[in-house]
């Protein structure tokens, strides 16, 4: 397993070269001397699309741009050929033109190596472009789990629907933007039943008890007792 984080500058050690840090990840799991580790680091840098990898290998994190540092993180994460790569908001701190390079890279690498990609983000656009399946979480619980294209067209949980509707890119220009009223309950004051009920426009009697994740269709689960009876707006209406 491997993980990459949102802020590459905090995740990389400023006093070691990029090559040493990638090599370290390899040597932690496989017997190898420094020379071999360096060769493997250069190969990893090439795989993530960094030009002049032999030179970059000996540079320090502060000498690289944000996008490059994130590529270094990806190289470090993939060098041991993990089965699972967890990416926690990997593009949030990057400019949008660099973001698309990184999401393309992650998707291509994961397809090529067969590594599963667990992509954590708040950006539904990034999910739409990079992911095949989407899990929506709210207040510590999974509330929906479905293929991306399905959930964007027809979300089955009011929170997922609310998130989609609040996106400015899906609203007519200058129109009033919908939003979800209220706020996420603090951990010490969770509602007894459905945690989203206080903010939900579809809340009813049955929502006051603990909810369970139900299967609605092949591959589509939702935690909402009213899912079968309500029709929710999605990304396209």
């Amino acid at each position: 397993m491997a993980m990459i984080f949102q802020e590459p500058m905090s995740a990389l050690d400023p006093v070691f070269t990029v090559g040493e840090q990638i090599g370290e990840a390899y040597r932690a799991h496989f017997p190898a001397d420094r020379k071999e580790a360096r060769q493997r680091a250069i190969a990893a840098l090439t795989e993530v699309g960094i030009p002049a990898p032999e030179r970059r290998c000996d540079e320090y994190p502060h000498q690289l741009s944000g996008g490059m540092r994130q590529r270094v993180m990806i190289a470090m994460a993939l060098i041991c050929k993990p089965k699972l790569l967890i990416a926690d908001e990997p593009t949030t701190a990057l400019d949008v033109t660099v973001q698309s390079q990184i999401t393309d890279l992650l998707r291509t690498l994961s397809e090529r190596t067969g590594t599963a990609l667990l992509f954590i983000t708040h950006d539904l656009g990034v999910v739409a472009e990079t992911c095949t399946r989407m899990i929506t979480m709210y207040a510590g619980e999974v509330v929906e789990d479905a293929p991306v294209d399905d959930v964007l067209m027809k979300p089955r949980h009011p929170y997922t629907s609310g998130l989609l509707r609040s996106l400015p890119s899906l609203s007519a220009r200058r129109s009033v933007l919908p939003s979800i009223p209220g706020r996420v309950p603090p951990p010490n004051a969770m509602p007894p039943g459905c945690r989203f009920a206080p903010r939900c426009s579809y809340a009813a009697e049955g929502c006051q008890v603990r909810q369970t994740l139900m299967t609605l269709g092949p591959q589509h689960s939702v935690q909402c007792c009213r899912a079968a009876e309500i029709s929710l707006p999605g990304a396209v209406n």
Partner: protein, 333 residues
């Protein structure tokens, strides 16, 4: 407001170089409009925003407020003048003194300007808090007791106390959860209608800027690349950078509906310490030509009210790879 040949330069820490944060920018802001300024890192948009409200002095050129240069005003007059040109920042936390109650923070600007007396200031403060949708009992709370969205409303209330003409909004929703941004943006729109405000809305978020702006200015490495009506810039961009920027935005649509071809730019944004010669964008431009290295593109009005800085753009669109190879074969290579 008018910006004329504005240059803002900062020395680097070692003093050996200068960061050309804003480099020869010209545009106007019309009364009552929302001008969106969009750009990525190093574009200079934040520096530009601060210069618009006199928080940063121009190194060269001018920022004019209704034709007057605020730098020429005497101290007392400048202080009175400033109330009309206000700013709201990105981080709602950093903007509020954690040891002052919400109401005290909101009325502080009125105190500084010695407006009214304690009683009238409190009364106005409560009115403006209510206007931004905060209940009466928030007035005596402290910032840590409010959510991010509520704190940002407090910042807006504080600015409204002085009934400004212009508000520069610097990434005002970037730090807020996606699902509550709509509320804050709606509030901005309401206040604009009610008070006849002019906004300069600075952001890196294309979906936000296209939603709320009347006109949009696209910045890159300290210069303007394009300026026009929001609809024109978003639907019919004329500059290759604008085109690439818009195509880079990930759309939350199912794959069958995502039809725009993505233009992936090579490389990364160069440093504003040594920006590329000629056209700043040329190192990443898919259709850069030799002329782009040698000559800074002129700021041309290609359609009424639609300005572009590119040698090869026309009123019909940005230069395309087809058009460029035809152009080259005409030139004989």
């Amino acid at each position: 407001m008018s910006v004329r040949n504005l240059r803002i330069l900062f020395p680097t820490r070692d003093g050996a170089n200068t960061v050309k944060a804003v480099d020869d920018v010209n545009f106007d802001v019309f009364p009552g409009e929302t001008l969106g300024i969009i750009g990525e890192s190093g574009s200079g948009k934040t520096t530009l925003g601060r210069a618009l409200v006199s928080l940063i002095k121009p190194s060269e050129g001018q920022v004019l407020h209704q034709g007057r240069d605020p730098a020429t005003l005497g101290r007392a007059e400048f202080r009175r003048h400033r109330r009309d040109y206000q700013i709201v920042f990105q981080d709602p936390n950093a903007a509020l003194n954690p040891r002052m109650t919400i109401l005290d923070s909101v009325i502080e600007p009125a105190e500084v300007l010695k407006e009214g007396n304690d009683a009238s200031r409190r009364k106005n403060g409560l009115a403006v808090l209510s206007r931004v949708g905060l209940p009466r009992d928030m007035a005596d709370r402290y910032p840590h007791q409010l959510s991010g969205g509520q704190k940002q409303r407090v910042n807006i209330a504080r600015v409204l106390m002085l009934r400004p003409k212009v508000i520069v909004c610097d990434e005002v929703v970037a730090a807020l959860d996606v699902s509550i941004r709509g509320d804050v943006l709606n509030l901005f729109a309401d206040l604009q209608r009610e008070f006849g405000l002019t906004y300069v809305f600075i952001t890196h978020d294309i979906s936000v800027v296209s939603h709320i702006s009347d006109r949009i200015a696209v910045t890159y490495l300290g210069k303007l690349m394009e300026l026009g009506s929001a609809e024109d810039v978003i639907e019919r961009p004329l500059h290759p950078y604008t085109q690439a920027l818009l195509s880079a935005e990930p759309l939350p649509l199912p794959s069958s509906m995502r039809t725009t071809r993505r233009i992936v730019l090579e490389g990364e944004i160069p440093s504003p310490i040594s920006p590329p010669s000629g056209c700043r964008f040329r190192t990443r431009c898919p259709v850069a030509q030799p002329r782009c290295t040698d000559e800074v593109p002129a700021w041309r009005e290609l359609k009424p009210g639609h300005w572009v800085a590119c040698h090869f753009s026309t009123a019909d669109g940005p230069p395309s790879t087809n058009a460029m190879s035809q152009h080259n074969s005409k030139q004989g290579g």
